[in-house]
């Protein structure tokens, strides 16, 4: 049984926001709602790091714990989803979430806070798989189409990995062991080859 997880490789993320764009386009996410976003630490400073953040589909999700109407549920694949017909838009989940994943669209003339919206791991919601109702409320259900989340599959540098936790962890582990760490990862020698003995490079 798959346990779906995301991993973002901060060494690879180039802050292109392709994941954010892919998510928005795939699910017709409304203006002002960002299910996924790229956060950059030490922006503009040499050595800055970027990481793509969305719902991490926590195994012990705090949003589920605090929801007063119990609208959240976890699928057999470990994806945390919610029922928008039950959600009352109170915002408790956004206070509880350490990643800022829950988003609230502004509806109506006076900017009324709408029902919560968040990353679904491209797994839709409780409506029938692939139905129009599911698409309108939660976006496309790619898992039911045998695909992985659009953000991870679209990532140009493959910094963002999504899928079964064991599989993506193996991919990431192999990558880290191969590239090593420290100065050997980057620099002139890595890019153009190390200078031969006694020769000018």
């Amino acid at each position: 049984m798959a346990r779906m997880k995301f991993i973002c490789d901060a060494e690879r993320c180039i802050e292109c926001n392709g994941c954010t764009t892919a998510c928005k386009a795939e699910h017709d996410v409304p203006w002002g709602v960002n299910r996924r976003r790229v956060v950059t630490l030490n922006d503009g400073v040499p050595g800055e790091k970027s990481i793509s953040v969305a719902c991490m589909h926590c195994s012990d999700a705090p949003c589920m714990a605090v929801c007063p109407v119990d609208c959240f549920y976890r699928t057999d694949e470990g994806v945390v989803l919610h029922d928008k017909d039950v959600c009352i838009g109170c915002g408790y989940c956004s206070y509880a979430c350490p990643f800022g994943a829950p988003q609230f669209p502004s509806n109506g003339t006076f900017g009324l806070r709408g029902k919560m919206d968040k990353c679904t791991f491209c797994a839709g919601g409780p409506e029938d798989n692939g139905s129009q109702a599911e698409y309108e409320k939660y976006g496309r259900n790619r898992l039911a189409e045998g695909k992985l989340p659009a953000c991870a599959e679209m990532c140009s540098t493959k910094a963002l990995l999504g899928g079964d936790g064991d599989v993506v962890a193996d991919i990431f582990r192999n990558r880290v062991l191969t590239r090593g760490k420290g100065s050997e990862v980057w620099g002139w020698g890595t890019a153009y080859g190390k200078p031969a003995e006694g020769k000018k490079s």
Partner: protein, 77 residues
């Protein structure tokens, strides 16, 4: 006459007072179908059949390897 009409109106309004009340039962959370149940569509990837959870798992593992450049380019030197 007017007293009788007034009494009838009062009785009628008292009798109908609860008719506009909507039921307040909490709607339970809907059950979600498994992604391996499909449905199969023109956009479905892979060769797994809707309802075959084992094949869907295998499809997910294969699909995830598309994110592994070493599975596409071969092992690094």
């Amino acid at each position: 006459m007017s007293r009788a009409a007034l009494a009838a109106t009062l009785l009628l309004s008292l009798g109908l007072v609860a008719c506009g009340e909507k039921p307040q039962t909490a709607s339970p959370r809907k059950a979600d179908g498994r992604p391996s149940d499909g449905p199969a569509s023109a956009y479905t990837a892979g060769t797994w059949k809707a309802g075959d959870a084992v094949a869907w798992d295998a499809q997910m593992r294969d699909r995830a390897q598309g994110q592994n450049e070493y599975s596409r380019t071969g092992s690094p030197p």
